[in-house]
Point group: C2
Chain length 343, copies 2
Amino acid sequence: MAEILVTADELAKRLMAALAAEGVDEEGAAATTMALMHASRLGVDSHGARLIKHYCKVLRGGRVNAHAVVSCHRTGPATAMVDGDNGLGHLTSYRAVSVAIEIARESGVGAVGATRSSHFGAAGAYALAIAEAGMIGFATTNTDSIVGLFEGTEPFHGTNPLAFAAPVTGEKPWLLDMATSSIPLNRVLLYRSLGKELPDGVAADENGAPTRDPNVAQMLLPLGGEGFGFKGAGLAGVATLLSAVLTGTTLDPDFIPMVNTDNISTPRNMGHFFLAIDPARFAGANVFAAGMRAYLDSLRKVPAADGGKVMAPGDREWDVEAQRLRDGIPIDSETAAFLNFSH
Amino acid sequence: MAEILVTADELAKRLMAALAAEGVDEEGAAATTMALMHASRLGVDSHGARLIKHYCKVLRGGRVNAHAVVSCHRTGPATAMVDGDNGLGHLTSYRAVSVAIEIARESGVGAVGATRSSHFGAAGAYALAIAEAGMIGFATTNTDSIVGLFEGTEPFHGTNPLAFAAPVTGEKPWLLDMATSSIPLNRVLLYRSLGKELPDGVAADENGAPTRDPNVAQMLLPLGGEGFGFKGAGLAGVATLLSAVLTGTTLDPDFIPMVNTDNISTPRNMGHFFLAIDPARFAGANVFAAGMRAYLDSLRKVPAADGGKVMAPGDREWDVEAQRLRDGIPIDSETAAFLNFSH
């Protein structure tokens, strides 16, 4: 059974229904659906609709609280902490983002830490929500260990994403959503099934030795690879410092694994960090808008090596979104079956 | 004439004197000396004492205002703009850092943009100053074009550093100060003089084709190299968005070159961005301190591939500092002559 193509509206409806069936209320289901649809629309399929089955499983198991009551505690003129009550990470995160934007309107910058959260999907969804409110957005989380340290022999950090977004007048936002490893783990699994060699410097074997063989790859390497992986590892540390150390939540090596564990009943106490920066309090919204325009015009004028065009962060994703909204969103067979799509 | 070893005290004294000779007042000379000494002590020689000759030249040329009066404009409960009056970037930046810390104590987070600044040396100096005040620090700047975009054929971004620092109880701070290219330009020049091949994926020729030949390398490649350079290019963009677009200052391709130009009389209107985050407004200073301890203990327990030890960001630099404070700071012959060190 191959993947099928579905419309965004129909997919969103099925995701809402699947979550409602687990007892999640309207707001929680809408938040998770919005985050999953963000990823599925933009082509980040690892963080899209395919996660619904996992979320339903952990809701049923008790790891994630279907009836979470998210609470917010304002801790300063520019800061707040949001307690997710062990509910869906998307609900906690969109709530934290709203608070960050509200604070930034008041104070110029809003920084919000989240605790007792869970997997929040694609970090870019939250940075984007801030950009859509006219501000520079930043979102990060730490996750369970799968990426080595520079010259380390064991997984230590998670793929710890850093996501930044900024509004662009008359265009979709500038959007950078990047793991601090070169590739995600599912790329290794894909190459394994394709019998294809991995690129240099993206994965290592059980002794920490870099390998291109996906069958012996046991951990990912940080961005920068064999020569410069200390930079990717440092950036992964930034995600951990802000998401976990600052908020007092779980460190990467201490997480109950997201998958491949029998324990789906214990909350993971995941933390995140969100930042909203209002251009109005710096050179002003108009100067910022003109600057983004000049920056992107200048960037897009650079000739690409292959005769194509150079892209800004997000350009590829917005192209994918346009194409998918036109042609349909591809859903793998397992997820299609779970969501009762007929073939 | 080879390099010589000098004491930190003597070097700082000579740097102060050289700046005073250009008419820079006590505060400005002290700020520049502190930033240069940071780099020279920690082994970041590209941004250390060797820059003094350049700074004196541009002070004399008028590009940098020896008599700058830095001013600060508070724009919100969590934000401020600092106008450097085209003076030394270190003075502007340390002033901005003080303001960011003060604001963060008040509001939880302090974000400060700098305008009409100039080259500020090593970004890590400013992130570190924030960590020394007990907070998480972030500092960034954009610089003149020398790094290509992903698949681009011309230099676009500068080496645009991102620097983060965090306090660690009983230890020197955690300190990540990284260019968003894999290597700095002077590494290319060094390899040229050594007749050595560059690593893969760090530089490109005049057509944007990656090359390991330092003699044909015309631009640097973003962190992540041939396969994943879109990540490094995106991070360079983050530096530009925060430092230049947000503050309304000069974009990377529009800078009068730092060196290799006859124009040393026109100010470059460089921007920077600084952020201070007070752990007291999140899980609290004690929880943060315990978390940093647990994080670093856990990290340092990971066996290194070569049987050595895995390092946290800053560990190598603090080792170099200890060694240099014991044995002396190496100064190249040209700088030694400029500072009137005898041989």
